[in-house]
């Protein structure tokens, strides 16, 4: 980790870097996840510090791999962005029942204001719905400190813990004083004997086992609330008795700046809420204001508990991030229209990006383009304006099929599903199966944009690149073989830049057929091209050494 350090051993770290360092100092055995802004740098940071970190094909798989490890008493950390938790929610909602024997922390990064996301959903609702305790650090120091408390909580109650961070916590840098330097380990580091002990009733969640597990979970919740009231990681700071602010996360710092005289209650663990502690704080101030980003979740919970608290005006402040200006406005009940900041220049596809060429061709052919998420979503913006829909990862294939099923034939023939390579492996494979299983009368055309990387989130490896998070070579999935195995009769791989005409011709002919066609538009991301080209050369050596069977795990072959 390259970080500036001052003479007192403090480091200037982003929240993500602080979590990576904390994971090391907590003795995390395995960290896994799927990239997603603003969470992506945590795993790279952990691996750079010598931790075992890996990218999973998607968040659900990551959460499941971690669960298996935690069943054997390992400490595990899973990272993802807020929408990733939608994908991992299936395992979340039942692993709170089963619990686990090791420590399990799921880091989820919310993006209020949608700096780089398709929605601004609020992960706190998952904590409540799945009954998972939740921690919310407010800056890098707390992101470092609370991770240990989160693991201890997880281990004490045998429960997965949600660690909610937000864009400004993830990507802001502030001072961190770690318990020891990054290259050392604390003396009291967690060090259990990793082993599997059979307990079928605890881990096989059939109704007969899940019914008592649900009761156990509710009992744990009551115990955790009692603990949180007396020993939870909160800070009550009494200043003026006129105004008190209850908050968590980055809003605490905005509040301190906007109203230095106000008393504050900063919650470090927000589910289950320490209601007794909160009640005592509310009773000690004349006016009590709840400050939170996204949904009015905290305010609603406090009001349901009968507390008289003021909340932000959700007609205005439910949208976007909190800021010092906004806190000032909320405190003076100023509901006037906020000034609109001047619009900056929107991002665009890099010059020479292979996606540009692919979408130009589809536009020339007047296609209806069912798109997906990645750099290539920028093709939806002018001047290209060549994507007609984008909702969630993997949806491009399903939505395209739906259109094909109902549109009149001439229109149906224009529909193409376009999906990035990482997105395809994340959640497009099931779409391919759907196409083969329920093919529309006009067939369908699916284009995988294989640029050899997860470009959008900072060029992470994935199962199609044949490299792991630490750059080691590993198995590489074949899109062609997947397509054929699913039942696609036509599978083509074409370079959309160098073989632009061939690509255009192939799409045009496929649209005219009543068959399923998978086209792999293969051309490297311009920003990753040197890494990809160098990797190809090294890979040949690796493969010729006869170790391409997927067994090699350590070290790079050069």
């Amino acid at each position: 980790m390259h970080a500036s350090q001052d003479s007192q051993g403090r480091l200037l770290l982003s929240g993500n870097e602080a979590i990576a360092l904390a994971a090391k100092h907590c003795g995390v055995h395995l960290a896994t996840g799927y990239p997603g802004t603003p969470s992506s740098e945590i795993l790279d940071g952990f691996q750079a510090l010598g931790g075992k970190a890996q990218w999973a094909p998607n968040e659900k798989v990551a959460a499941e791999v971690a669960l298996g490890a935690a069943f054997a008493k390992a400490r595990v950390m899973v990272t993802m962005k807020h929408v990733g938790l939608n994908v991992a929610s299936d395992v979340l909602f039942t692993m709170t029942y089963s619990g686990m024997q090791g420590g399990y922390v799921l880091v989820v990064a919310d993006d209020p204001g949608m700096a780089s996301s398709q929605n601004e959903q609020d992960s706190r609702r998952y904590a409540e719905a799945a009954v998972a305790p939740m921690f919310e650090p407010c800056d890098s120091q707390e992101a470092y400190d609370l991770l240990k408390v989160a693991f201890e909580t997880s281990e004490r109650w045998g429960i997965p813990v949600l660690y909610r961070i937000t864009t400004r916590v993830c990507h802001s840098k502030s001072a961190v004083k770690p318990v020891c330097s990054p290259d050392q380990m604390p003396k009291d580091v967690y060090n259990p004997s990793i082993q599997f002990e059979r307990n079928i009733a605890a881990r096989v969640m059939v109704p007969g086992h899940a019914k008592p597990a649900h009761r156990r979970l509710r009992a744990k919740l009551a115990e955790m609330e009692a603990w949180n009231n007396t020993q939870g990681p909160h800070r009550t700071e009494m200043r003026s008795a006129n105004v008190g602010i209850i908050t968590a996360g980055i809003c605490y710092h905005h509040a301190r700046e906007a109203a230095p005289e106000a008393s504050t209650l900063r919650l470090g663990m927000t589910f289950p809420l320490p209601m007794a502690l909160i009640k005592a704080f509310v009773a000690g101030v004349k006016r009590c204001v709840v400050l939170e980003e996204n949904d009015p979740w905290l305010a609603t919970a406090l009001r349901a508990a009968g507390l008289q608290v003021e909340s932000k005006n959700d007609a205005i402040f439910r949208f976007g991030e909190m800021s010092v200006d906004r806190v000032r406005r909320i405190l003076r009940n100023d509901d006037s229209i906020e000034p609109v900041p001047p619009r900056g220049k929107p991002p665009e596809l890099c010059a020479g990006c292979p996606h540009r060429s692919s979408f130009e061709v589809l536009k020339e052919l007047d296609c209806i383009i069912s798109g997906d998420i990645g750099c290539y979503t920028l093709a939806a913006l002018p001047p290209l304006s060549a994507m007609d829909m984008m909702i969630d990862m993997g949806a491009g294939i399903g939505m395209g099929l739906g259109l094909r099923h109902v549109l009149p034939e001439a229109e149906a023939r224009k529909v193409v599903s376009v999906i990035g390579d990482s997105t395809f492996l994340h959640s497009g494979i099931t779409g391919l199966l759907e196409a083969a299983y329920n093919p529309p009368p006009t067939g369908h055309v699916v284009v995988i944009l294989d640029n050899g990387t997860t470009a959008m989130t900072g060029q992470q490896e994935h199962p199609g690149t044949g490299r792991k998070l630490n750059s080691d070579f590993t198995n590489r999935v074949s899109y062609e073989a997947l397509g054929r195995a699913a039942g696609f009769p036509n599978v083509l791989t074409i370079n959309p830049i160098r073989e632009r005409d061939v690509f255009k011709d192939a799409v045009q002919k496929s649209l005219a057929k009543n068959e399923l066609t998978l086209i792999i538009a293969k051309s490297p991301c311009i920003l990753a091209v040197s890494h990809i080209v160098a990797g190809e050369k090294e890979r040949k050596v690796w493969e010729s050494n006869g170790i391409s069977g997927g067994v090699k795990t350590e070290g790079k072959v050069l």
Binding site: L12, D139, P347, E348
Partner: protein, 160 residues
């Protein structure tokens, strides 16, 4: 005009790929090593694909919010001329604007070094010891770029 070195708010702005984040990292490094409390905020993601980008650095004895409020910026350092209009609203009434035209770009060792030249210019407004700037530049760049950066930094300082 000189700026206080004991606390301040500086916003770096430009387009993705113009060295905005790097410049703010280096500057944050300078103040942090001198023992100040520092906070730095920026937004990653889509904004990197050539879109507008800004990064705030705040320092002092103690800093709360990592973001600079509108109208509270002491110094705005813009790396790309078109971005002046969109960002200058953040400046205090007596805040200072620094832009590419302040540097003789034809004399830069490479166009990429503009951010370092801007840091050089900043060093004439903020009286931190020169060694602190130098040290931060050294740790944030590989050795092969040191000579070019020294040139760019000197150019920004107006030294021959």
């Amino acid at each position: 005009m000189k700026l206080s070195i004991h606390s301040g708010n500086i916003r770096f702005a430009g387009l993705g790929g113009t060295g905005v984040i790097k410049a703010s990292d280096i500057f944050a490094d300078v103040v942090f090593r001198l023992g100040y409390d520092v906070k730095k905020a920026e937004v990653h993601g889509m904004s990197q694909r050539g879109g507008s980008l800004s990064s705030d650095v705040r320092w002092g004895v103690s800093v709360d919010s990592p973001m600079i409020s509108e109208g509270e910026c002491d110094l705005l350092v813009v790396m790309e001329a078109t971005q002046v209009v969109v960002t200058q609203g953040c400046l205090k009434s007596d805040g200072i604007l620094m832009q590419p035209s302040d540097i003789d770009e034809s004399k830069l060792p490479s166009a990429k070094a503009l951010n370092v030249a801007m840091l050089g210019r900043m060093s004439t407004l903020l009286a931190f010891p020169l060694e602190a700037w130098q040290a931060a530049l050294r740790t944030n760049f590989p050795e092969k770029l040191w000579a070019a950066n020294d040139k760019a930094f000197a150019l920004g300082r107006g030294e021959p």
